[in-house]
Protein backbone atom coordinates (compact mmCIF):
# COMPACT_ATOMS: atom_id res chain seq x y z
CA UNK A 1 0.00 0.00 0.00
CA UNK A 2 2.74 2.36 1.07
CA UNK A 3 4.72 1.76 -2.09
CA UNK A 4 1.60 2.40 -4.15
CA UNK A 5 1.28 5.88 -2.67
CA UNK A 6 4.97 6.58 -3.35
CA UNK A 7 4.48 5.40 -6.92
CA UNK A 8 1.48 7.69 -7.31
CA UNK A 9 3.26 10.74 -5.93
CA UNK A 10 6.42 10.22 -7.98
CA UNK A 11 4.38 9.70 -11.11
CA UNK A 12 2.55 12.99 -10.53
CA UNK A 13 5.78 14.89 -9.83
CA UNK A 14 7.33 13.64 -13.05
CA UNK A 15 4.16 14.50 -14.94
CA UNK A 16 4.19 18.00 -13.48
CA UNK A 17 7.81 18.58 -14.47
CA UNK A 18 7.10 17.49 -18.02
CA UNK A 19 4.01 19.67 -18.29
CA UNK A 20 5.78 22.71 -16.82
CA UNK A 21 8.50 22.49 -19.45
CA UNK A 22 5.89 22.43 -22.20
CA UNK A 23 3.87 25.25 -20.63
CA UNK A 24 6.95 27.47 -20.43
CA UNK A 25 7.85 26.91 -24.04
CA UNK A 26 4.30 27.67 -25.12
CA UNK A 27 4.23 30.82 -22.98
CA UNK A 28 7.55 32.07 -24.34
CA UNK A 29 6.38 31.43 -27.86
CA UNK A 30 3.05 33.14 -27.17
CA UNK A 31 4.76 36.18 -25.72
CA UNK A 32 7.10 36.39 -28.70
CA UNK A 33 4.14 36.14 -31.09
CA UNK A 34 2.07 38.71 -29.22
CA UNK A 35 4.76 41.38 -29.12
CA UNK A 36 6.10 40.55 -32.56
CA UNK A 37 2.71 40.64 -34.26
CA UNK A 38 1.77 43.85 -32.53
CA UNK A 39 4.85 45.37 -34.12
CA UNK A 40 4.18 43.86 -37.54
CA UNK A 41 0.67 45.30 -37.48
CA UNK A 42 1.94 48.76 -36.73
CA UNK A 43 5.03 48.82 -38.93
CA UNK A 44 4.30 46.27 -41.67
CA UNK A 45 6.11 42.96 -42.23
CA UNK A 46 7.49 43.93 -45.61
CA UNK A 47 8.95 47.21 -44.37
CA UNK A 48 10.43 45.34 -41.45
CA UNK A 49 12.08 42.47 -43.30
CA UNK A 50 13.18 44.32 -46.42
CA UNK A 51 13.77 47.78 -44.95
CA UNK A 52 17.38 48.78 -45.45
CA UNK A 53 17.77 51.06 -42.47
CA UNK A 54 17.82 50.24 -38.80
CA UNK A 55 17.62 53.67 -37.12
CA UNK A 56 15.56 53.04 -33.97
CA UNK A 57 16.45 56.37 -32.38
CA UNK A 58 16.01 58.71 -35.38
CA UNK A 59 12.89 60.75 -35.86
CA UNK A 60 10.96 59.24 -37.53
CA UNK A 61 12.47 55.92 -36.49
CA UNK A 62 13.11 53.25 -39.10
CA UNK A 63 13.11 49.56 -38.31
CA UNK A 64 14.37 47.71 -41.37
CA UNK A 65 16.23 44.53 -40.46
CA UNK A 66 17.44 43.53 -43.91
CA UNK A 67 21.02 44.49 -43.10
CA UNK A 68 20.84 42.54 -39.84
CA UNK A 69 19.52 39.44 -41.61
CA UNK A 70 22.30 39.74 -44.18
CA UNK A 71 24.78 40.24 -41.33
CA UNK A 72 23.61 37.09 -39.55
CA UNK A 73 23.55 35.02 -42.72
CA UNK A 74 26.98 36.24 -43.84
CA UNK A 75 28.64 35.46 -40.52
CA UNK A 76 26.87 32.09 -40.37
CA UNK A 77 27.83 31.20 -43.93
CA UNK A 78 31.44 32.14 -43.24
CA UNK A 79 31.44 30.08 -40.06
CA UNK A 80 29.95 27.11 -41.94
CA UNK A 81 32.58 27.33 -44.69
CA UNK A 82 35.27 27.17 -42.02
CA UNK A 83 33.72 24.69 -39.60
CA UNK A 84 32.04 22.15 -41.89
CA UNK A 85 35.02 20.75 -43.83
CA UNK A 86 37.31 21.07 -40.85
CA UNK A 87 34.77 19.50 -38.49
CA UNK A 88 33.93 16.56 -40.74
CA UNK A 89 37.56 15.79 -41.37
CA UNK A 90 38.33 15.95 -37.65
CA UNK A 91 35.42 13.60 -37.01
CA UNK A 92 36.72 11.21 -39.67
CA UNK A 93 40.18 11.29 -38.18
CA UNK A 94 38.89 10.60 -34.68
CA UNK A 95 36.48 7.86 -35.74
CA UNK A 96 38.50 6.05 -38.39
CA UNK A 97 42.16 6.90 -38.45
CA UNK A 98 43.53 8.03 -35.10
CA UNK A 99 45.32 5.51 -32.90
CA UNK A 100 43.42 4.87 -29.70
CA UNK A 101 45.52 7.11 -27.43
CA UNK A 102 45.31 10.11 -29.72
CA UNK A 103 41.61 9.50 -30.32
CA UNK A 104 40.81 9.75 -26.60
CA UNK A 105 42.86 12.92 -26.18
CA UNK A 106 41.25 14.55 -29.21
CA UNK A 107 37.76 13.65 -28.05
CA UNK A 108 38.35 15.25 -24.65
CA UNK A 109 39.74 18.37 -26.31
CA UNK A 110 36.69 18.66 -28.54
CA UNK A 111 34.40 18.24 -25.56
CA UNK A 112 36.40 20.87 -23.68
CA UNK A 113 35.97 23.25 -26.60
CA UNK A 114 32.22 22.94 -26.26
CA UNK A 115 32.50 23.92 -22.61
CA UNK A 116 34.23 27.28 -23.21
CA UNK A 117 31.71 30.05 -22.45
CA UNK A 118 31.00 32.09 -25.56
CA UNK A 119 31.88 35.37 -23.88
CA UNK A 120 35.37 34.01 -23.20
CA UNK A 121 35.75 33.00 -26.83
CA UNK A 122 34.53 36.44 -27.87
CA UNK A 123 36.97 38.14 -25.56
CA UNK A 124 39.92 36.07 -26.75
CA UNK A 125 38.84 36.75 -30.32
CA UNK A 126 38.61 40.47 -29.64
CA UNK A 127 42.10 40.84 -28.18
CA UNK A 128 43.96 38.37 -30.42
CA UNK A 129 42.10 37.68 -33.65
CA UNK A 130 40.74 41.17 -34.35
CA UNK A 131 44.13 42.98 -34.33
CA UNK A 132 45.62 40.10 -36.33
CA UNK A 133 42.93 40.35 -39.02
CA UNK A 134 43.42 44.10 -39.23
CA UNK A 135 47.19 43.99 -39.60
CA UNK A 136 47.37 40.98 -41.93
CA UNK A 137 44.66 42.17 -44.29
CA UNK A 138 45.58 45.83 -43.87
CA UNK A 139 42.00 47.04 -43.40
CA UNK A 140 40.71 49.92 -41.23
CA UNK A 141 39.22 47.68 -38.57
CA UNK A 142 39.55 44.04 -37.64
CA UNK A 143 35.98 44.00 -36.32
CA UNK A 144 34.51 42.30 -39.38
CA UNK A 145 32.15 39.56 -40.49
CA UNK A 146 35.29 37.55 -41.23
CA UNK A 147 36.45 37.70 -37.61
CA UNK A 148 32.96 36.75 -36.48
CA UNK A 149 32.98 33.79 -38.87
CA UNK A 150 36.23 32.48 -37.45
CA UNK A 151 35.08 32.76 -33.84
CA UNK A 152 31.71 31.20 -34.62
CA UNK A 153 33.31 28.51 -36.73
CA UNK A 154 35.29 27.61 -33.67
CA UNK A 155 32.07 27.44 -31.67
CA UNK A 156 30.29 25.24 -34.21
CA UNK A 157 33.17 22.78 -34.40
CA UNK A 158 32.48 20.75 -31.24
CA UNK A 159 28.86 20.11 -32.23
CA UNK A 160 29.78 19.17 -35.78
CA UNK A 161 32.69 16.97 -34.71
CA UNK A 162 30.98 15.05 -31.95
CA UNK A 163 27.70 14.34 -33.78
CA UNK A 164 29.46 13.48 -37.06
CA UNK A 165 31.84 11.24 -35.20
CA UNK A 166 28.92 9.36 -33.66
CA UNK A 167 27.37 8.97 -37.10
CA UNK A 168 30.62 7.75 -38.66
CA UNK A 169 31.32 5.36 -35.84
CA UNK A 170 27.84 3.86 -35.99
CA UNK A 171 28.34 2.76 -39.60
CA UNK A 172 28.18 -1.04 -39.27
CA UNK A 173 31.51 -2.83 -39.51
CA UNK A 174 29.95 -5.20 -42.06
CA UNK A 175 29.76 -2.40 -44.64
CA UNK A 176 33.46 -1.70 -44.29
CA UNK A 177 34.32 -5.39 -44.31
CA UNK A 178 32.27 -5.80 -47.48
CA UNK A 179 34.16 -2.98 -49.14
CA UNK A 180 37.57 -4.26 -48.06
CA UNK A 181 36.66 -7.72 -49.33
CA UNK A 182 36.05 -6.24 -52.79
CA UNK A 183 39.57 -4.85 -52.87
CA UNK A 184 38.78 -1.32 -51.69
CA UNK A 185 41.55 0.62 -49.99
CA UNK A 186 40.90 2.32 -46.68
CA UNK A 187 40.34 5.69 -48.32
CA UNK A 188 37.99 4.28 -50.99
CA UNK A 189 36.02 2.58 -48.24
CA UNK A 190 35.76 5.76 -46.20
CA UNK A 191 34.85 7.99 -49.10
CA UNK A 192 32.40 5.76 -50.90
CA UNK A 193 30.84 3.66 -48.17
CA UNK A 194 31.41 5.12 -44.70
CA UNK A 195 30.69 8.74 -45.58
CA UNK A 196 27.68 7.76 -47.69
CA UNK A 197 26.21 5.67 -44.89
CA UNK A 198 26.89 8.34 -42.28
CA UNK A 199 25.63 11.22 -44.44
CA UNK A 200 22.23 11.75 -42.76
CA UNK A 201 23.95 12.02 -39.38
CA UNK A 202 26.63 14.33 -40.76
CA UNK A 203 24.03 16.64 -42.30
CA UNK A 204 22.18 16.74 -38.99
CA UNK A 205 25.46 17.58 -37.24
CA UNK A 206 26.09 20.44 -39.65
CA UNK A 207 22.56 21.76 -39.20
CA UNK A 208 22.81 21.68 -35.41
CA UNK A 209 26.21 23.37 -35.56
CA UNK A 210 24.77 26.10 -37.78
CA UNK A 211 21.77 26.40 -35.48
CA UNK A 212 24.13 27.09 -32.62
CA UNK A 213 26.02 29.67 -34.67
CA UNK A 214 23.00 31.61 -35.84
CA UNK A 215 21.64 31.92 -32.31
CA UNK A 216 24.98 32.91 -30.80
CA UNK A 217 25.10 36.42 -29.35
CA UNK A 218 27.96 37.40 -27.07
CA UNK A 219 30.96 36.27 -29.07
CA UNK A 220 29.61 37.74 -32.27
CA UNK A 221 28.68 41.01 -30.58
CA UNK A 222 32.28 41.42 -29.48
CA UNK A 223 34.09 40.84 -32.76
CA UNK A 224 31.89 41.93 -35.68
CA UNK A 225 31.85 45.70 -35.22
CA UNK A 226 28.05 46.03 -35.02
CA UNK A 227 27.53 48.39 -37.93
CA UNK A 228 23.93 48.05 -39.07
CA UNK A 229 24.68 48.43 -42.76
CA UNK A 230 24.52 46.00 -45.64
CA UNK A 231 28.11 44.73 -46.00
CA UNK A 232 29.80 44.80 -49.39
CA UNK A 233 32.26 42.04 -48.49
CA UNK A 234 33.07 39.64 -45.69
CA UNK A 235 35.77 42.08 -44.54
CA UNK A 236 33.19 44.75 -43.60
CA UNK A 237 31.77 45.19 -40.12
CA UNK A 238 28.30 43.70 -39.75
CA UNK A 239 25.64 43.51 -37.12
CA UNK A 240 23.65 40.36 -36.48
CA UNK A 241 20.04 39.86 -35.37
CA UNK A 242 21.09 38.47 -32.00
CA UNK A 243 23.60 41.22 -31.27
CA UNK A 244 20.94 43.85 -31.97
CA UNK A 245 18.55 42.43 -29.41
CA UNK A 246 21.29 42.08 -26.79
CA UNK A 247 22.72 45.51 -27.35
CA UNK A 248 19.46 47.48 -27.47
CA UNK A 249 17.00 45.73 -25.18
CA UNK A 250 18.29 47.67 -22.19
CA UNK A 251 17.61 51.07 -23.73
CA UNK A 252 14.06 50.54 -24.91
CA UNK A 253 10.84 51.67 -23.32
CA UNK A 254 8.81 48.67 -22.29
CA UNK A 255 5.83 48.31 -24.63
CA UNK A 256 7.20 50.91 -27.07
CA UNK A 257 7.66 50.41 -30.80
CA UNK A 258 11.42 49.84 -30.50
CA UNK A 259 10.83 47.28 -27.77
CA UNK A 260 8.37 45.46 -29.98
CA UNK A 261 10.65 45.69 -32.97
CA UNK A 262 13.22 43.71 -31.01
CA UNK A 263 10.61 41.03 -30.43
CA UNK A 264 9.99 41.10 -34.18
CA UNK A 265 13.67 40.30 -34.62
CA UNK A 266 13.27 37.53 -32.08
CA UNK A 267 10.48 36.07 -34.19
CA UNK A 268 12.64 36.16 -37.33
CA UNK A 269 15.45 34.40 -35.46
CA UNK A 270 13.05 31.86 -34.07
CA UNK A 271 11.76 31.08 -37.55
CA UNK A 272 15.28 30.60 -38.90
CA UNK A 273 16.46 28.34 -36.06
CA UNK A 274 13.19 26.42 -36.12
CA UNK A 275 13.66 25.70 -39.82
CA UNK A 276 17.25 24.61 -39.29
CA UNK A 277 16.37 22.32 -36.40
CA UNK A 278 13.46 20.94 -38.39
CA UNK A 279 15.76 20.04 -41.28
CA UNK A 280 18.28 18.50 -38.85
CA UNK A 281 15.48 16.41 -37.34
CA UNK A 282 14.39 15.21 -40.75
CA UNK A 283 17.88 13.86 -41.41
CA UNK A 284 18.33 12.41 -37.93
CA UNK A 285 15.08 10.49 -38.29
CA UNK A 286 15.96 9.37 -41.78
CA UNK A 287 19.06 7.83 -40.28
CA UNK A 288 16.92 5.61 -38.08
Amino acid sequence: MNSKITDYIIEKIIFLCGIIAIVFVVLIFGFLLKEGFAFFKEYGVFNFIFGKYWYPSSNPASYGVFSLIIGSLLVTLGAAIIAVPFGIMTALFIAELAPKGIRDILKSIVELMAAIPSVVLGFVGMVTLVPLVRSILDIPTGLTAFSGSIVLGFMAMPTIVSISEDAIRSVPWQYKEGAFALGATKWQTIRRVVLKAAMPGIIAAVMLGIGRVIGETMAVLMVTGNAAAIPTSIFDPVRTLTATIAAEMGETVRGGLHYRALFGIGLVLFTITFLINFIADLFLNKKK
Binding site: P172, Q174, Y175, K176, E177, G178, A179, F180, A181, L182, G183, A184, T185, Q188, R192, V193, K196, A197
Partner: protein, 257 residues
Protein backbone atom coordinates in the same frame (compact mmCIF):
# COMPACT_ATOMS: atom_id res chain seq x y z
CA UNK B 1 46.48 -35.97 -47.92
CA UNK B 2 44.37 -35.60 -51.03
CA UNK B 3 45.75 -36.85 -54.29
CA UNK B 4 42.84 -36.47 -56.68
CA UNK B 5 41.94 -34.70 -59.90
CA UNK B 6 41.82 -30.94 -60.32
CA UNK B 7 44.70 -28.49 -60.30
CA UNK B 8 45.73 -27.05 -56.95
CA UNK B 9 44.47 -23.49 -56.53
CA UNK B 10 45.31 -22.68 -52.93
CA UNK B 11 48.19 -24.15 -50.98
CA UNK B 12 48.24 -23.53 -47.25
CA UNK B 13 51.65 -24.22 -45.73
CA UNK B 14 52.43 -24.37 -41.98
CA UNK B 15 49.86 -21.68 -41.25
CA UNK B 16 49.61 -20.43 -37.68
CA UNK B 17 47.40 -17.59 -36.50
CA UNK B 18 47.32 -15.87 -33.13
CA UNK B 19 44.75 -13.44 -31.75
CA UNK B 20 47.08 -11.63 -29.33
CA UNK B 21 48.03 -14.62 -27.12
CA UNK B 22 45.40 -17.06 -28.34
CA UNK B 23 46.69 -19.67 -30.76
CA UNK B 24 43.70 -19.92 -33.09
CA UNK B 25 45.12 -21.88 -36.04
CA UNK B 26 47.77 -24.51 -35.48
CA UNK B 27 50.07 -25.62 -38.28
CA UNK B 28 47.48 -25.89 -41.02
CA UNK B 29 48.58 -27.60 -44.23
CA UNK B 30 46.00 -27.98 -46.94
CA UNK B 31 45.69 -27.98 -50.74
CA UNK B 32 42.43 -26.66 -52.16
CA UNK B 33 41.63 -27.59 -55.72
CA UNK B 34 40.17 -25.46 -58.48
CA UNK B 35 36.54 -25.56 -59.62
CA UNK B 36 35.41 -27.51 -56.62
CA UNK B 37 33.48 -26.62 -53.51
CA UNK B 38 35.54 -27.13 -50.39
CA UNK B 39 33.65 -27.11 -47.09
CA UNK B 40 35.19 -26.29 -43.72
CA UNK B 41 33.27 -27.88 -40.85
CA UNK B 42 33.72 -28.27 -37.12
CA UNK B 43 32.22 -27.11 -33.83
CA UNK B 44 31.94 -23.41 -32.94
CA UNK B 45 35.29 -21.85 -32.19
CA UNK B 46 37.29 -24.50 -34.04
CA UNK B 47 38.88 -21.93 -36.31
CA UNK B 48 37.03 -22.65 -39.55
CA UNK B 49 35.92 -19.03 -40.09
CA UNK B 50 39.35 -17.78 -39.06
CA UNK B 51 40.97 -20.08 -41.60
CA UNK B 52 38.58 -18.90 -44.33
CA UNK B 53 39.33 -15.29 -43.47
CA UNK B 54 43.08 -15.80 -43.88
CA UNK B 55 42.52 -16.66 -47.55
CA UNK B 56 41.65 -13.08 -48.52
CA UNK B 57 43.62 -11.47 -45.70
CA UNK B 58 40.46 -9.89 -44.26
CA UNK B 59 41.82 -10.87 -40.84
CA UNK B 60 44.43 -8.16 -41.38
CA UNK B 61 41.76 -5.61 -40.52
CA UNK B 62 41.48 -6.95 -36.97
CA UNK B 63 43.86 -5.64 -34.31
CA UNK B 64 46.22 -8.08 -32.67
CA UNK B 65 46.20 -10.77 -35.38
CA UNK B 66 49.57 -12.36 -36.16
CA UNK B 67 50.14 -14.92 -38.86
CA UNK B 68 53.08 -17.19 -39.72
CA UNK B 69 53.40 -19.58 -42.64
CA UNK B 70 52.37 -19.19 -46.25
CA UNK B 71 49.28 -19.28 -48.39
CA UNK B 72 50.03 -19.72 -52.06
CA UNK B 73 47.40 -18.84 -54.62
CA UNK B 74 48.44 -19.91 -58.12
CA UNK B 75 51.85 -20.50 -56.57
CA UNK B 76 52.28 -16.98 -55.19
CA UNK B 77 52.38 -16.29 -51.46
CA UNK B 78 49.61 -13.81 -50.64
CA UNK B 79 51.42 -12.95 -47.42
CA UNK B 80 54.62 -12.21 -49.36
CA UNK B 81 56.19 -8.80 -48.99
CA UNK B 82 55.54 -7.65 -52.54
CA UNK B 83 51.83 -8.58 -52.34
CA UNK B 84 49.30 -5.76 -52.26
CA UNK B 85 46.44 -6.72 -50.03
CA UNK B 86 43.74 -5.01 -52.12
CA UNK B 87 44.96 -6.95 -55.19
CA UNK B 88 44.63 -10.19 -53.23
CA UNK B 89 41.07 -9.35 -52.27
CA UNK B 90 40.12 -8.58 -55.83
CA UNK B 91 41.10 -12.12 -56.79
CA UNK B 92 39.56 -13.71 -53.71
CA UNK B 93 35.99 -12.53 -53.23
CA UNK B 94 34.00 -13.07 -50.07
CA UNK B 95 30.35 -13.50 -49.09
CA UNK B 96 29.58 -12.99 -45.43
CA UNK B 97 27.37 -14.62 -42.85
CA UNK B 98 24.83 -11.81 -42.76
CA UNK B 99 24.03 -10.25 -46.13
CA UNK B 100 25.87 -6.93 -46.10
CA UNK B 101 24.96 -4.95 -49.20
CA UNK B 102 26.09 -1.34 -49.03
CA UNK B 103 23.41 1.25 -48.21
CA UNK B 104 23.46 2.25 -51.89
CA UNK B 105 21.28 1.44 -54.86
CA UNK B 106 21.31 -2.08 -56.28
CA UNK B 107 23.17 -0.77 -59.32
CA UNK B 108 25.81 1.03 -57.28
CA UNK B 109 26.38 -1.99 -55.06
CA UNK B 110 27.77 -3.76 -58.11
CA UNK B 111 29.32 -0.69 -59.75
CA UNK B 112 31.34 -0.03 -56.57
CA UNK B 113 33.72 -2.95 -57.04
CA UNK B 114 34.09 -2.27 -60.75
CA UNK B 115 34.98 1.35 -60.19
CA UNK B 116 37.39 0.97 -57.30
CA UNK B 117 39.26 -1.74 -59.17
CA UNK B 118 39.25 0.41 -62.33
CA UNK B 119 37.73 -2.38 -64.37
CA UNK B 120 35.41 -0.22 -66.48
CA UNK B 121 36.08 2.69 -68.78
CA UNK B 122 32.53 3.85 -69.46
CA UNK B 123 29.14 3.77 -67.80
CA UNK B 124 27.95 1.63 -70.70
CA UNK B 125 30.48 -1.01 -69.76
CA UNK B 126 29.41 -0.79 -66.12
CA UNK B 127 25.77 -1.25 -67.05
CA UNK B 128 26.65 -4.32 -69.12
CA UNK B 129 28.55 -6.00 -66.27
CA UNK B 130 25.84 -5.08 -63.75
CA UNK B 131 23.32 -6.83 -65.96
CA UNK B 132 25.49 -9.91 -66.49
CA UNK B 133 26.23 -10.26 -62.79
CA UNK B 134 22.58 -9.93 -61.83
CA UNK B 135 21.66 -12.47 -64.51
CA UNK B 136 24.23 -14.90 -63.13
CA UNK B 137 22.62 -14.79 -59.68
CA UNK B 138 19.09 -14.87 -61.17
CA UNK B 139 18.09 -11.44 -59.90
CA UNK B 140 17.96 -9.58 -63.21
CA UNK B 141 14.39 -10.44 -64.20
CA UNK B 142 13.03 -9.39 -60.81
CA UNK B 143 15.03 -6.23 -60.39
CA UNK B 144 15.81 -4.84 -63.84
CA UNK B 145 13.22 -2.09 -63.42
CA UNK B 146 14.29 -1.19 -59.90
CA UNK B 147 18.04 -0.85 -60.17
CA UNK B 148 17.97 2.54 -58.47
CA UNK B 149 16.17 1.14 -55.42
CA UNK B 150 18.17 0.89 -52.20
CA UNK B 151 19.64 -2.57 -51.76
CA UNK B 152 18.48 -2.53 -48.15
CA UNK B 153 14.86 -2.90 -49.34
CA UNK B 154 15.52 -6.35 -50.78
CA UNK B 155 14.62 -9.60 -49.02
CA UNK B 156 17.49 -11.34 -47.21
CA UNK B 157 17.84 -13.93 -49.94
CA UNK B 158 17.94 -11.24 -52.60
CA UNK B 159 20.47 -9.29 -50.55
CA UNK B 160 22.71 -12.34 -50.29
CA UNK B 161 22.40 -12.96 -54.03
CA UNK B 162 23.31 -9.34 -54.62
CA UNK B 163 26.39 -9.83 -52.44
CA UNK B 164 27.35 -12.79 -54.65
CA UNK B 165 26.69 -10.68 -57.76
CA UNK B 166 28.87 -7.91 -56.38
CA UNK B 167 31.70 -10.41 -55.96
CA UNK B 168 31.44 -12.12 -59.36
CA UNK B 169 31.20 -8.74 -61.10
CA UNK B 170 34.88 -8.13 -60.38
CA UNK B 171 35.76 -11.58 -61.74
CA UNK B 172 37.70 -13.13 -58.90
CA UNK B 173 39.25 -16.59 -59.16
CA UNK B 174 38.13 -17.76 -55.75
CA UNK B 175 34.95 -17.08 -53.77
CA UNK B 176 34.90 -17.53 -49.99
CA UNK B 177 31.54 -18.02 -48.30
CA UNK B 178 31.27 -17.67 -44.53
CA UNK B 179 28.10 -19.48 -43.48
CA UNK B 180 26.26 -17.72 -46.31
CA UNK B 181 22.91 -19.35 -45.60
CA UNK B 182 22.72 -18.90 -41.85
CA UNK B 183 20.40 -15.90 -42.12
CA UNK B 184 18.19 -17.50 -44.77
CA UNK B 185 15.10 -19.71 -44.65
CA UNK B 186 15.25 -23.32 -46.01
CA UNK B 187 13.83 -22.44 -49.44
CA UNK B 188 16.31 -19.59 -49.92
CA UNK B 189 19.08 -21.87 -48.71
CA UNK B 190 18.23 -24.44 -51.40
CA UNK B 191 18.19 -21.70 -54.03
CA UNK B 192 21.55 -20.38 -52.94
CA UNK B 193 23.04 -23.87 -52.90
CA UNK B 194 21.93 -24.35 -56.51
CA UNK B 195 23.62 -21.09 -57.34
CA UNK B 196 26.86 -22.29 -55.75
CA UNK B 197 26.77 -25.46 -57.85
CA UNK B 198 26.53 -23.24 -60.93
CA UNK B 199 29.35 -21.02 -59.75
CA UNK B 200 31.87 -23.79 -59.31
CA UNK B 201 32.08 -24.18 -63.11
CA UNK B 202 33.89 -20.84 -63.20
CA UNK B 203 35.26 -20.33 -59.70
CA UNK B 204 36.91 -22.11 -56.83
CA UNK B 205 34.58 -22.05 -53.83
CA UNK B 206 35.45 -22.42 -50.17
CA UNK B 207 32.53 -22.47 -47.76
CA UNK B 208 32.33 -22.47 -43.99
CA UNK B 209 29.19 -24.13 -42.67
CA UNK B 210 27.94 -25.27 -39.30
CA UNK B 211 25.40 -27.40 -41.07
CA UNK B 212 26.76 -30.88 -41.76
CA UNK B 213 23.96 -31.82 -44.14
CA UNK B 214 24.80 -28.77 -46.18
CA UNK B 215 28.45 -29.75 -46.36
CA UNK B 216 27.49 -33.30 -47.30
CA UNK B 217 25.13 -32.41 -50.14
CA UNK B 218 26.96 -29.36 -51.46
CA UNK B 219 30.70 -29.82 -51.27
CA UNK B 220 33.23 -31.90 -53.17
CA UNK B 221 35.88 -31.82 -50.46
CA UNK B 222 35.47 -31.40 -46.72
CA UNK B 223 37.88 -30.36 -44.00
CA UNK B 224 37.07 -31.15 -40.39
CA UNK B 225 38.63 -28.81 -37.86
CA UNK B 226 38.78 -28.92 -34.09
CA UNK B 227 40.44 -26.54 -31.61
CA UNK B 228 42.49 -24.82 -34.29
CA UNK B 229 43.76 -28.06 -35.81
CA UNK B 230 42.93 -29.49 -39.20
CA UNK B 231 41.91 -33.00 -38.17
CA UNK B 232 41.08 -34.47 -41.55
CA UNK B 233 40.68 -33.27 -45.11
CA UNK B 234 39.44 -35.45 -47.94
CA UNK B 235 36.70 -35.87 -50.51
CA UNK B 236 33.34 -35.24 -48.95
CA UNK B 237 32.06 -38.75 -49.69
CA UNK B 238 34.99 -40.22 -47.81
CA UNK B 239 34.76 -37.84 -44.85
CA UNK B 240 31.10 -38.64 -44.34
CA UNK B 241 31.17 -42.39 -44.95
CA UNK B 242 34.62 -43.66 -44.16
CA UNK B 243 36.76 -41.13 -42.32
CA UNK B 244 40.20 -42.26 -41.22
CA UNK B 245 40.17 -40.45 -37.86
CA UNK B 246 37.92 -41.33 -34.97
CA UNK B 247 37.28 -37.67 -34.06
CA UNK B 248 35.97 -36.99 -37.54
CA UNK B 249 33.70 -40.00 -37.36
CA UNK B 250 32.36 -38.88 -33.98
CA UNK B 251 31.59 -35.43 -35.30
CA UNK B 252 30.00 -36.30 -38.63
CA UNK B 253 27.92 -39.05 -37.08
CA UNK B 254 26.61 -36.60 -34.50
CA UNK B 255 28.14 -38.24 -31.42
CA UNK B 256 29.98 -35.03 -30.68
CA UNK B 257 29.64 -31.30 -31.38
Amino acid sequence: MVKKKGEIKIQIKDLNLYYSNFHALKNINMDIRANRITALIGPSGCGKSTLLRTLNRINDTIDGVRITGEILINGKNIYGEDMQVDRVRKEVGMVFQRPNPFPLSIYNNIAFGLEINRMVKSSKETAKIVQESLEDVLLWDDLKNNLKMSALNLSLEQQQRLCVARVIAIKPQIILLDEPCSALDPKSTTNLEELMQELKQKYTLVIVTHNMQQAARLSDDTAYMFMGNLIEFNETSIIFTNPSKKETDDYVSGRFG
